[in-house]
Symmetry: C2
Subunit: 430 residues, 2 copies
């Protein structure tokens, strides 16, 4: 039996509290896995006197970061404080002091992952961040180890629980976006300022991490096309139902040839697709690999204990490596030059809702326009005219983004089209 | 750049061919992961002249097992020949010759896993079998590493693609069991003798492996209660639809306190549960952990390339360990004495279909009987009588297996009950 190993925590919010709880309650499992115990040695907090969700020995708390980062007893630093600049500074200090680092911080990894991985490797340290995407779902290691000899072609992810909760309420209970958002805020699934969630930024950060891991290239946040859900209307969700489509905020990361394409956008998913059944605050990531075919990972994308479970799986991995003397293998080693897929090579189906003048030949001129761009229709819904206008909903066959954008522009010029009400990507159509 | 490592194959069927294909086509990925190449050195076959699905250098083939097992150049032996006795003998030989062993053989691991793990450890060798459950889904390592500091409470798995295909056809297309089975045989999803699949034996073997891994105890095949799908009728599937229930062959492995319970049986799953959306030949395993909550792993449960992907993830793991000099860590280290949950502590909801005489008070005496056993009803469906008999379908609230079995026996004695037509476990009810 070896001497206990020590971990230091930066932050004691929901995830930090979960880590403390797991270390206490699962000491026996940890001893079984590692052959030694694990203890929390120091916890950096901002306010010593703040009331905590868990009972913790007051002597473990400190407001001085050196008590963790320059503490010779501490082997692994767990960063669960959030934020970017200070977290980055502390993690760099920890790595340079030869401490292994585990973080749940998706913002930080999305922005500075490559830099931190490089410093980790230079110092022979592990830097793991399983909890940064998909909360407790064993996802990043599943992708990097489980599919190690495969080539991932596409990742489609519901990676933000707040927006999935809102869209589920809109779909299942016919709520408006505003009501569903308010309900999510009441339940603590959405923050007082929900911008990062509902505008797709949180999902975009996670897709950056997934895309790097899947395609071995340094994807950055600027490479991601992002559309949020704040303009999604109950009207479109209703039409979607009639077409057996369910609205989800989907993060895409695709590779074809050696070009990649990463985006986040509200998307109509065919009801028969497994992602359509992922409801409420749950997350899921649907992976298409050249050999493995289709695989999906599903689970709680957030929450104290699920996220802390992922953090602890990283801690155990780093400690195992430490006991074996084999740290410093990077999660992501970039090896391809990044090249983005141009719009004429990005294909999908599209949903489109138009307000059309009630004139003879109106639909003919619309379908003519699409025809000239080589876009054909899979399904058409036309609502009865109110005397002046009718609504026309079409679902196209596969079309390039470039041609679809052209069609949108030309439709705006068309006299019979009063307005393009909405358009969405469509996926998973059988 | 180190010297190439060599693997030897026992068997060259669908999975073996997939391994050869991946090694050839993904050499670059393997070099990237390992810092050296991987080559297939020898392949044991039964018949040198048999036509193969893939092109392979004839010099690699042999009918002499010593060319693999006693070959000093070979570091890792991949067993994909199937069967139990010969496979066991070869694997024991390989381990004693200090070769790491990867196998996709669920029958062998279910029957002899603990013995083989012990011999592997005694010889400082890796023995991995990710492909034995869930084909290409990164499942076993997800459970053992991803949830390392969690306590798994329940595993519910759709782990047999053949039966899931048959049940999907019955549910979605109203086919009879016989027609769906024939269709599955035509498509190659079911074998000419489908017994092992349709009677639940294949699923039981996989549940043994999952239960050992989840609960750290030596579960054996005899511990599993097994009911197959050959008696599932279109009638019950139809009633299920009316009750928003979908029939699936579910493998259960549950732990409460330190008692465990493992079974395989046709089960009605609530349509809102993620497992209800797992269709056709797909597999999925739904895991409930004390901390992580609910997680699901989904993907192709069989097939040449998906299964070979899982085999190759094990090969890479063993080779990494070898290059680092850290082999011999067991997948499953049993540490609890096995104790089975008695029937009075096994709870679930139940579906029950009765043929009942068309008499006043018939339903009253049935509900009286259940009432006396403390079993209450959640839902009741009664069909119009044909003059003599009516069908009564009930879904109970949670009840113990013991009490439900008692109820079945007493119903048989009840004068108003012509017959108990069918009964099934019900899960996932919200």
């Amino acid at each position: 039996m070896e001497k206990d190993v020590s971990i230091g925590l930066l932050g004691l919010g929901v995830v930090g509290s979960g880590v403390i709880q797991i270390v206490e309650e699962h000491q026996e499992e940890l001893v079984h896995q590692l052959g030694c115990g694990v203890k929390v040695d120091k916890v950096l907090v901002r306010d010593m006197e703040k009331a905590r969700q868990i009972e913790i020995n007051h002597d473990l708390l400190t407001t001085n970061s050196d008590d963790v980062l320059a503490n010779a007893d501490i082997d692994v630093v767990v960063e669960v404080m959030g934020g970017v600049d200070t977290a980055r500074k502390y993690i760099l200090e920890a790595l340079k002091a030869k401490k292994h680092v585990i973080t749940a911080n998706k913002d930080l990894i999305a922005l500075h992952g490559p830099e931190l991985e490089k410093v980790a490797q230079e110092n022979g340290c592990d830097l793991f961040y399983e909890a940064s995407v998909g909360g407790g779902i064993p996802l990043l290691r599943g992708l990097s180890d489980g599919l190690v000899s495969d080539r991932i072609q596409q990742v489609m992810g519901i990676v933000n629980g707040t927006t999935n909760y809102i869209l589920t309420k809109m779909d299942k209970e016919g709520q408006s976006y505003e009501d569903a958002l308010q309900k999510a805020q009441e339940l603590g699934f959405a923050e007082a300022d929900p911008t990062a969630d509902v505008e797709g930024l949180d999902a975009a950060r996670k897709m950056v991490i997934l895309a790097r891991l899947s395609f071995f290239t340094n994807v950055e946040l600027d490479d991601v096309d992002v559309v949020g859900i704040s303009n999604v209307s109950a009207t479109d969700i209703d039409y979607g139902k009639k077409l057996d489509l369910t609205m989800k905020l989907i993060g895409f990361a695709s590779r074809q040839d050696n070009q990649i394409d990463v985006s986040v956008e509200p998307t109509f998913i065919s009801k028969t697709h497994p992602l359509a059944a992922v409801n409420n605050e749950y997350n899921a990531v649907y992976v298409s690999g050249e050999n493995v075919g289709e695989t999906m990972f599903y689970g709680a994308g957030a929450g104290s204990l699920p996220t802390a479970t992922a953090v602890m799986s990283d801690v155990v991995e780093a400690l195992k490596n430490m006991l074996l003397g084999v740290n410093g293998k990077q999660f992501v080693v970039p090896r391809f030059k990044k090249e983005l897929t141009p719009a004429d090579k990005r294909f999908s189906q599209f949903y489109l809702r138009l307000k059309v003048k009630d004139e003879t030949g109106a639909f003919a001129s619309i379908s003519d326009l699409f025809n000239q761009l080589g876009i054909s229709f899979e399904r058409i819904l036309q609502t009865p005219s109110n005397g002046d206008f009718a609504e026309v909903i079409v679902v196209t066959h596969q079309a390039s983004s470039e041609n679809f954008v052209k069609a949108m522009k030309q439709l705006d010029q068309l006299d019979v089209v009063e307005s393009v009400e909405s358009h969405y990507r469509v996926e998973g159509d059988a």
